[in-house]
């Protein structure tokens, strides 16, 4: 199923308690910083998803979802505006969300 998705993908989910958006990282954890996110494409996606879902079973995370990624300097950024908004925070409230802490403009 996942194999059919085009291009690199990363895994977006929410913390169970805060509901805040996080990405599955290369070292098998979760972070709001997409540049740490693990990404894969094609056949490798199923394995990545399975690994991420293991973590969901630890009951820290809900709603794992594959989302398209754009790769720059070996770091992943959301390809679609919806996931960019999720990663950064509301575009109309620059004072809220991860955009406050991370230097998005540099990305």
């Amino acid at each position: 199923m996942a194999k059919k998705l085009k291009g690199p993908q990363m895994i977006l989910a929410n913390w169970l308690d805060s509901g805040r958006v996080v990405f599955f990282t290369r070292d098998g954890g979760w972070s709001a910083d997409t540049s740490l996110a693990a990404y894969a494409e094609g056949e490798a996606l199923d394995a990545l998803l399975a690994e991420a879902e293991k973590s969901a079973r630890n009951n820290l995370i809900v709603g794992t979802e594959l989302v398209g990624a754009t790769i720059k300097n070996d770091a992943a950024y959301p390809a679609h505006i919806k996931h960019t908004v999720q990663a950064k925070g509301p575009s109309v409230r620059p004072d809220l969300g991860y955009q406050v802490a991370t230097n998005w403009e540099a990305a």
Binding site: S18, G19, R20, I81, K82, G89, P90, S91, L96, G97
Partner: protein
Amino acid sequence: MYAYDKFDRALTDTRVAEFRDQVERRMKGELSEEEFRPIRLMNGLYLQLHAYMLRVAVPYGTMSGDQMRRLAHIARKYDKGYGHFTTRQNIQFNWPKLSETPDILAELAEVEMHAIQTSGNCIRNVTSDQFAGATADEIADPRPYAELLRQWSSFHPEFSFLPRKFKFAITGADQDRAAVKWHDIGLIVRKNDKGELGFEVLAGGGMGRTPVIGKTIRKFLPEKDLLSYVEAMLRTYNEQGRRDNKYKARIKILIEAMGADEFARQTEAEWERIKDAHIDVPLEEMARIKAFFTPPPLEVLATNVPAINTLAKQNFLFASWLKNNTNAHKVPGYVNVTISLKPHGGIPGDATAEQMDLVAALADAYSQSEIRVSHEQNLILPHVAKRDLPALWTDLDEAGLGTANVGLLTDMIVCPGLDYCALANARSIPIAQAITKRFDDIKRLQDIGPLKVKMSGCINSCGHHHAGHIGILGVDRKGKELYQILLGGSGAEDASKAGILGPGFDEHGIVDALEKIVAVYLGERRDGEEFLATYRRIGADIFKEAIYDAA
């Protein structure tokens, strides 16, 4: 205002305790997300784009100063200091933590509020006229009936799992400010030839991907038969509405398929069967509920207040606010004040905790501690003495709540769109901000006159774009946000469905296109003719030419 009795209280308290236990079990992993999701939704808790979102019901848009203060407190303590008022007259908090929602619900229950049935395929918060009980053009206050429907529909065992969500709206006035024709069931309070109270009953209205204007199912339903009749309607829908396809599951699709006459016939047949089955409440109970909505004892005051006239002459903004943001009250010497939550360049429908506290304090001081939320996402202080208007306006204006644009182009209905909503295709708030900045001049807005612009970030139409004189719909075209324009809709008593003009514009093009549409109207209008009337007279083509051909 309605006050909970021991049954209401027991119901909400039990629900909070039950949800607290469920949340604890979820946090411990005893409930999976799959098991928990329908439970949290039944308690108004969504997982949205950035975090959880809690939708709190404001029954028929009426609340007290104390309730508003509690909302402010919740925004401050559990959220990020603000809330968003919606087209369902509810409020949404965008950042609550799952583990804290039981505490939020407990704090709400203390002031007789809850989030029950603000999600799910059940009967949602009944919406109503924001001026109910306070307007000069009303046959009767519709809120006692809305309250009766609230009690009847809360945890109704048969109607808790309908094919799809179900929305009622009710008005008691000839002028429809509650968009009743756009609801699953719409009720209009009427009097028959004998002067008895009752309802015109409409059904099958709705927006979304298949916009339909509701049809009259019964011209006059006696007041005492309300519950048995709507029960017959709901049963007909519940049994026959489609469950195989969620896009075809609303009552509007059933009624379109079987025809309004046939739906009415089946409803009447079912009603014949059940109308004497003691579903309707005894007259004493109706009288008990009505007593909570007794109008406040207002002493008649002089209608002409020289201090107001003087200030209006000196201050154009006050004069505009007086003209646009106040309307006639039943009692001479009073008005209803609409507080615009559409500051130019701001976020439509949002209010900070400080603004909520201020509105609560102003309600205590000037409006008998009563506040209303309108489906147009504004707040209303009813029963304000005209002589208090200068002081009230000054306080509002200082807090950024004095925008004099009610009913004008920038008083837009705008859904949260892609900045907050997981279902969105495009952002709507930034477009609203660009539009309200472009049309920032109140003089110009007044010259354009009454104009309802309504915008949704996807086809679900929470922003009522089908009912906008000018509607804007955000779409996603290959990952790009585009905005389509619709013209000629109305959510009022002359309800009509807006038609799409053509291909969408990008975020800059849409503001220019709106400006061109306004220019066509100003060029074409006859004396005193409002936008919608001009559109209905001249049609869409000339507008189309202006926005596409010139490009």
